[in-house]
Symmetry: D2
Subunit: 164 residues, 4 copies
Amino acid sequence: MSEEKANQYSLPTSAITNSSPSAYENWFEYPVRVYPHHTDYAGVVWHGTYMTWMEEARVEYLRTCGMNYADLVALGCDLLVVELSLRYHRSLRLGTTAILKTRMSELNGVRINFDYALESEDAKELYVTATVTLVAVDRERGKIMRQLPTSVKDALLKISNPMN
Amino acid sequence: MSEEKANQYSLPTSAITNSSPSAYENWFEYPVRVYPHHTDYAGVVWHGTYMTWMEEARVEYLRTCGMNYADLVALGCDLLVVELSLRYHRSLRLGTTAILKTRMSELNGVRINFDYALESEDAKELYVTATVTLVAVDRERGKIMRQLPTSVKDALLKISNPMN
Amino acid sequence: MSEEKANQYSLPTSAITNSSPSAYENWFEYPVRVYPHHTDYAGVVWHGTYMTWMEEARVEYLRTCGMNYADLVALGCDLLVVELSLRYHRSLRLGTTAILKTRMSELNGVRINFDYALESEDAKELYVTATVTLVAVDRERGKIMRQLPTSVKDALLKISNPMN
Amino acid sequence: MSEEKANQYSLPTSAITNSSPSAYENWFEYPVRVYPHHTDYAGVVWHGTYMTWMEEARVEYLRTCGMNYADLVALGCDLLVVELSLRYHRSLRLGTTAILKTRMSELNGVRINFDYALESEDAKELYVTATVTLVAVDRERGKIMRQLPTSVKDALLKISNPMN
């Protein structure tokens, strides 16, 4: 494991038990491209940039099941990030295109988990894996909701079913 | 737990076993203030913003033990983020000041772990807790280092000792 | 002019002499969508966010004439922003889609000017107009180039001709 | 002018008629430091980053005359950026510290202009000059204000007087 390129380094842990690209076959796919503003002095994507792509992919994923995030906010419901974890497997260089794959992995009351895998277009390189947990918040009352609005729940169940 | 404000919501999990502020008493302190560019439509800090503060705090923390991060990079050594996890306990509003506390929690070969806790100035509110793992990379050869440069190791041992 | 919504305010100056959407008819078009990370506490796009979209549009515009920006950088040529100006006419809200239109307006030695207009999809609303000036820099020698590399010049002339 | 370093390039125009550092002697000073997240692949500050520092300096400058920006927003008044222009004279590298100097240069009804100059600590290097125009907006009614709230006007007059 000693001789990887920095932009191709492997995580020196047992971080990902099975990173076989096929594991992400039926996930929602969001294509990304690395522009200068995504990079840092090392010529690769700055580690915080991935969170912008994860958010964008999540919003688009929800849209595929009929949920417009801006509408949801306008109706008084926020989906707040309460937990987040990322593992960086390989760096992504300026100009590279890649596919950010995501799926809803758990729906537990008002808590929603999303898994992510950022892969090369040919699915042979794994750049980043991540997990995000959101909770539904009532914007006006300023409180975590006791249950999801029906429309949200129905939409989420629609995307969760293909996984099972 | 039902009546918190959204900007004061508690994480509905056993996320932090003991978030007693005193736990962070001897950590390095980096003050932050919320400017408009840190916020999102919800009027609170966007969840990815914390990573910029964590990086800044880490660089300043290393400086206190004589390690200038830009010099380290110029000498050919990068500290790459390979793992990152955050838990968001309470939201931070526009204009708020807070203290980001950090310490090096582990030094294992070329892997370095930092813990973080973002607290209110009076240490009564806990906003975010986080952990980051870095590895030292040889920039020119493009490889994870087999061992830390002596100067880096000495500096890190200097900051790790007060903890023990 | 007194009764506009804040998200529909008009610039109280003679900023744009003629903002007739038809002015941008043959410009390169780059679609954008407002995600949460683009917004600030006011619920609209933070004023600095537009610069990320302008950069992305510019890189894609150059690609249409066969110039891959990452390749250009790899070959040792940077296009550095040396001047920039923006006028904000209307705010863009969370979830909105819009079209960022751009064209190269001037090529003068190693200086290149790009004009921008961010419009609604139906071209009836004008959100932002902007101008950016870049200069070509030799990355290795660290100097402004005396002339553009031939490949760059040819590509730029290719996109500049349709305008004249 | 042909032999400057890219990180020390001069703007090949008559951009700044007189960039004598003494011109900024009595301006408000906001110190900045370049962290990795501020940089791009070229190893220098990404051109959009300066807008975050300009906003921070502006908020702190207003604070010196007793105006807390978050309070202003809470009271229903926003200061929206309507025009912005920057000139990039020299690039700022990772780890560099510099002083962002600002002053209110004009107060015209609800329009407020700020000038900026980013200089090295010894005031011998000029990195960026910029101008920003803001207008006061009534958040609730969603309209540009006809006149500034008295408290705002008084505060701004307080900072504008020392200039004259």
